[in-house]
Every structure is written in structure tokens, then in C-alpha cells.
Symmetry: C2
Subunit: 92 residues, 2 copies
Amino acid sequence: MTEEANVVFVGKKPAMSYVLACVTQFNSGKKEVVLKARGRSISHAVDIAEIVRNKFLQDVEVKKVNIGTDEITGENNEKLNVSTIEIVLGKK
Amino acid sequence: MTEEANVVFVGKKPAMSYVLACVTQFNSGKKEVVLKARGRSISHAVDIAEIVRNKFLQDVEVKKVNIGTDEITGENNEKLNVSTIEIVLGKK
């Protein structure tokens, strides 16, 4: 058990996979869990944060939300910008 | 010109429509503009905030991001939860 924040990367799996990952982290003693997502998965990450906090762990709240931009290299070496989100969930 | 924060509701139009709405608000003297979106439009709202701040108005930053849940009533009177986001953009 460390004090490090734990990161859950949100992709295309069903919400419950990530909800379970978050709940497991908190139950193993973590004080904070960070949900990270890019592009279209951003909406999915927000849903997951809301499900964790409203349905599973009432003593968890959203501590901070950061948004940003990552530059990725596409198929033809062109540069693409993709938006990112980090949602920090923590014990109240 | 008031000090009230102005709200831009993000839906399914192209990003540039909303970017232009934000830029117009700031240029008319507003100190803050709030982007609001629900469900799948959340990712779109993050893209728009990033475009405004990186490409158009370098003196604007993300002041705060709030996430939440709205309860809506579906077709058969069932209750559905939909996630929401509010991104507060403000002058540095």
C-alpha cells in the first residue's frame, strides 16, 4: 500500500470494468484514484466517475478535473491534437 | 457589459460554431465564459475549450471544471442519468 495516486486509463470497455477497477483501488487502501481518458472516451470517463461516486462509494468525491491536449502522430506522419481529461477521485 | 458569466451550451454543431461563440463573448468584454455539455457532447466541449485556449485566445485559461449528473425522463417515463460537464474559461 503506497500513497501514490493510482491511474485507471479509460478506453472502450464497458463502464463497469473501469468502475470495478476504481472500487478495487479504493478498497485496497488508496486515498486517490485518477481516471484518464482521451478523445471520445472523455464522456465515458465522466460517466464512470459519476457512477463510482453516486452508486458505489459515497465517501469518494471529485477532487479535481484537468483537461489538456496531447499531440499524436497519425498514419501519414501528420500531427493530430487529441483532448485529454484527468479526473482525480479521492476520499472525503 | 455585465460581470455575469456567460454560458455556451455545446451540442452537435461543428466545434467552430461554439469556439466562435466563446471568442465573441470574450471580445465583447466578458471575463468568464462557461461551456456546458451533457452525455456524448462532453468530449466535444473539452475539444472546444482546448481550441479556444490554444489557438484563439492565449490569455484565456481553464479556471475550473465541474462534473455532475442530471436525471432526465426518457420516452417511457423511465429515469435516466446523464453526465454533465461545466468548463469555466476565464482571462488570466
